[in-house]
Amino acid sequence: MRLALLFLAGFLTACSGPGLQRVDADQELELTDRWNARDSREVSESMMTDMLSFPWYSEYRINHQDDRPKVIVQQIRNKSHDHIAVDTFINDIKRSLLQRGKIDFVAAGAERDDVRDEKKDQELNASQETQKALGQESGADFALTGVINSYVDQLNGKRATYFQVDLKLIDLLTNREVWIGQKKIQKLMK
């Protein structure tokens, strides 16, 4: 008889419809164990705080009349199992540092090519007093590179997902690695 009631309960359960709940736009929602906007922001803030705490930063300011170091973000490779929007992560890194006013960034990659194309176009089409000349770019002092990796363990209906972000800062003049940072995120899904 208990089995019969279980069966009936199934019928009744199946009748309930989907529900909708409004939530605050600032509230963090995590429905899966995938990499999300919160991970991107928290990792970037934590790692940039760590990066600025290393000796290279104060040494540079002392040696360059308190000038801010210029950093170029080179490749941050996504070697994880998740399609991570690396551009968003890079923007979070830049935003975290620019907010503190301690570092200047110079454009890299396709953005830099677009800017150079724009300058070439200005040479032909913009008035002389508003033209931005080629060859006046700020050279970067340091290059930031890194890799995002992940590991997944799954058994008995539970899944542990680890994301590990490794970043390093390289002195472009000397090739010295002046900072190496690592941040891990663990998520348990069941």
Binding site: L3, T13, R77, K79, H81, L155
Partner: protein, 547 residues
């Protein structure tokens, strides 16, 4: 709801069951009977269209056959994602398959209503959840999409980004394959009291059902393709690791390649005047699952038995599966032996198998459970026909005066059939438990409604009992537009535009096909192209062929 019912008097309880339970029992019967068509039969036209290389028509047929919602939602995204790939709509294909990837996530909890539907009606009436093989294949088709898109990229940065997408998919494939292996050692997770009781009961009758054989997780060809992705991204350490894993797989004989692919696993040798081409060829269509059913009952002094009506002496497909699966947890090895053609270890054909775990004395006398078991009932299982799933096609690439065999391949048909065989014992356990539950339910409702003064209520009880018997069916759903096999070639070509011919012969049907592809070779770079070769109009007879 249950708590409220517990407060009712026995009389009210019976009245409630007469009035209310008889109707859902009838509904059970109707739903079970309605869903008798197999999934394969519902998309036969789609497969016929794919076999004729008419992918647009296949897409139209699919839209008519299944919908992007409901129980077959996952299958819709899998099939339509594959059809988009075959038409070269790689971005669309990725979007569709990404939706499938999310739905197929094994960690997703199945809704309670779905679990009950699967137990009370039939697995065919529940939401299709997919399996790890299909999850790995989602990654594989998406990987091909990214590789094709990278080949069409207009800048180096775009190409790198798209190859990065392919790398993500290669990681997902590896995870899905590793999960398959872990599942073999999984213990049962938390379950409701009723489910635990049913587990214990069936375990007592059939023995330990948790000993699932380990399906082979290594797929060297996928590791090889992964190594190519790393190579194209100039990540030589990762390329070397993937290549070593692939080589190890071949050396352990995990595939049935006619020769060790030395030329495929050697490092790139392109120079300033030449580049390389990697060709991945998908061919044919994966076999579909069939359904077999047999009788289960309790013998007078012999315990639980299963018996079938199949001709086991003449090696019928059903008979071979019955003998493999019912050999117990070791049935997987029997199946593999049959696949390898080793008749010596095929095992003795049997029409009746006994599980001498319990005798009728184990059960309470005259209980509904004993009644049901003594009367017996049918149990349905899905199975793959026993044809050989060795590589069927042979192909070669012809350009100018030269010719190269694509002699390295992977039989997805073999992989999917072997994986299914590895899980068959577990499926048998579940199918038996499900049928036992349905028969118990029908028996109990029949006994209650049989006492009713109302002819209608009595009739509903009888119909429910007959329906529960006649509605026995297995879940034969699977991703059916996947190719039967994958072949790969890597050739060095002079820089520039080339038109290559790919000549393919399907061994069993004798069907020949010649396809032309245009490639643009960049000096010092690896280019990529994938193509699909349909196996012609003989689809319906494909699964019945033997070597």
């Amino acid at each position: 709801m249950v708590l409220t019912l517990n407060g009712l008097s026995l009389y009210m309880y019976k009245v409630f069951l007469r009035q209310v339970l008889a109707i859902p029992t009838l509904a059970l019967s109707l739903v079970a009977l309605q869903g008798c068509a197999t999934y394969g039969s519902s998309i036969t036209q789609v497969r016929t269209d794919v076999s004729s290389s008419d992918f647009v028509a296949a897409e139209e047929s699919l839209e008519k056959a299944i919908k992007p919602f409901g129980d077959d939602q996952l299958l819709y995204f899998l099939e339509s994602g594959m059809l988009a790939h075959l038409q070269g709509r790689y971005v669309d294909s990725n979007n569709l398959l990404e939706q499938a990837y999310r739905l197929i996530d094994p960690i997703n909890n199945v809704a309670l209503s779905d679990r009950l539907k699967a137990i009370a009606f039939s697995p065919r009436a529940s939401t299709y959840m997919g399996n790890n093989f299909e999850r790995s294949m989602v990654g594989f088709i998406k990987l091909l999409n990214y590789m094709n898109l990278a080949n069409q990229a207009e800048s180096d940065s775009e190409r790198t980004e798209l190859l990065g997408g392919a790398r993500v998919e290669s990681r997902r494939i590896r995870i899905a394959l590793d999960v398959s292996e872990n599942e073999a050692s999984e213990k049962n997770g938390p379950a409701t009291k009723n489910v635990r009781e049913m587990d214990r009961l069936v375990s007592d009758m059939m023995g330990d059902q948790t000993r699932v054989p380990i399906a082979q997780s290594s797929v060297p060809l996928l590791d090889l393709i992964t190594s190519y992705i790393y190579e194209m991204l100039d990540e030589s350490d990762d390329a070397r690791i993937a290549r070593a894993r692939s080589t190890q797989g071949y050396q352990q004989g995990l595939t049935h390649s006619p020769q060790y692919p030395e030329h495929l696993v050697s490092w790139s040798s392109s120079d300033e005047d030449s580049g390389e081409l990697i060709l991945v060829q998908l061919a044919g269509l994966i076999p579909e699952q069939k359904e077999l059913s047999f009788f289960a009952g309790l013998g007078g002094g012999s315990g639980l038995y299963f018996s079938n009506d199949y001709d086991t002496e003449s090696d019928s497909d059903e008979g071979i599966w019955f003998n493999s699966v019912l050999s117990g947890p070791t049935g997987y090895q029997v199946w593999l032996n049959h696949q390898s053609g080793n008749e010596k270890y095929r095992g003795r054909p049997r029409n009746k198998v006994y599980f001498n775990q319990v005798s009728p004395g184990y059960f309470e006398s005259e209980s509904p459970l004993l009644n049901v078991l003594l009367q017996g009932f049918r149990v349905a299982l899905s199975y793959y026909p026993s044809s050989s799933y060795q590589l069927d096609s042979e192909s070669s690439i012809i350009w100018h005066q030269e010719e190269t065999d694509t002699n390295l391949g992977l039989s997805l048909a073999r992989k999917v059939a072997n994986d299914h065989a590895a899980q068959a014992w577990k499926e048998l356990f579940l199918a038996f438990a499900r049928e036992l539950f349905q028969q118990l339910l029908a028996e109990q409702v029949y006994q209650v409604t049989n006492d009713s003064d109302s002819q209608l209520v009595s009739l509903l009880g009888v119909v429910g009992k007959v329906g529960a018997f006649a509605g026995t069916q297995a879940d034969t759903r699977s991703w059916l537009t996947l190719p039967r096999e994958v072949r790969i070639a890597r050739i060095k070509l002079p820089a520039g535009q080339h038109t290559l011919s790919v000549q393919t012969t399907f061994r069993y049907s004798g069907y020949d096909k010649r396809q032309e592809i245009s490639v643009d070779i960049t000096p010092g770079k690896i280019s990529f192209v994938s193509l699909y070769t349909a196996d012609g109009p003989s689809l319906n007879s494909r699964t019945e062929m033997t070597p």
